[in-house]
Symmetry: C2
Subunit: 207 residues, 2 copies
Amino acid sequence: MMMAGLRERKKEQTRRRIAEVALRLFDERGYDAVTVNEIAEAAGVAKVTLFNYFPTKDCLVTEGVKDDLAAIVSGRPEGCAPLEALRRAYLAMAAESTGGMDVESLLARIRVISSSPALMGAMHAVRMGERYELATALRDADPGGDDLRAQLMAGQITAAVTTLQEVFFHRIAAGEPLEEAGRRLAHDVELAFDLLEHGFAPREDTP
Amino acid sequence: MMMAGLRERKKEQTRRRIAEVALRLFDERGYDAVTVNEIAEAAGVAKVTLFNYFPTKDCLVTEGVKDDLAAIVSGRPEGCAPLEALRRAYLAMAAESTGGMDVESLLARIRVISSSPALMGAMHAVRMGERYELATALRDADPGGDDLRAQLMAGQITAAVTTLQEVFFHRIAAGEPLEEAGRRLAHDVELAFDLLEHGFAPREDTP
DNA sequence: TTCAAAAACGTACCTGGTTTGCTTTATGCT
DNA sequence: AGCATAAAGCAAACCAGGTACGTTTTTGAA
């Protein structure tokens, strides 16, 4: 009865092989110039099997890029405001930068995504899902609060995070070393969250 | 020398016929259940001609839904902050609600869009274009300002407007009369722009 | 060893979208 | 009026992502 057996391991292995082959081909020749047929063939698998693992072509790349903002809010420590929890989480992420994952394949992923409008669109779709979940989490965090307010906050937070990621990706794709990009990211995170917290107004201070 | 002749009129007429037929079919049977072939046939036109007028299927519906935030910022009166110009523009839009366009087809459009994930995605793509242009306009409005700051602001503003529109669409699709939805929209606009202007912080007032 | 479930497969098919090359038709000029 | 031209339309074939379906292989356990 399900001893994490050979079967599961083989499945995982196949899935990883497909994703790796796809990423390599995309990086070599561009996302649009590679067909799923080629990927399937190169991975030694039938097209239908590929689509069994990944529901769409873009999922080959965008899988696992969710930041799960909602979880950060839900799991924040007692007495910590949602926005503060998110700020800390992103500062931590900027400090890690490459959290355990293979660096080269991470960079390849970023290159591929940044150079394909279709994938940028797919990323956006992912973000929209996150936004929805975040709105729910924010509503839970502030019961009795305004519903529209939660939605607006979720939208703005998601937008900020998206922009941060895009700028980060852009720098990486432009060849900036990962470490330096990470340092600058930390700075940018502060700016972004200050903007969220205090708004655009602080042009003229009224202390 | 191009006296707006019969040719142009016929073209415009064909284009409108295609769009109307498409909207009607989508509204009757759902976006995904209608193929472009059917639309072309129903409009008495070849598929290739349809794609000559509308580059993609979703453009049949999403054409002309751009709000052109950038133009509002660029064309704002002297001494008026960008955010203030946008607030006024959206308040005005909420007051008009149905600005001259045929109401029934407007409602059909909203119904169709709100009930199709694919079209919601397409709307999003439109918004992303707007965001980019808005970032540029904001940069122009504040020369010497921080580039990232402009991008973040553009993202947040776009997110707010998107949320407002989604809520508005949702109410319309749920059968709320246009006029009432417009009234509530005006109120929501104020909330959204206050949030943008002053941030999330103002839970406890510090006057 | 045997057997049922799960995984992989091959093939044909659908749909959005593009390409090619040909006909029709409005238009501007003489 | 008549004619050349350029725009618009068309039919049919094609491409790629994705799905449906029925078949074969692999695997875990009896």
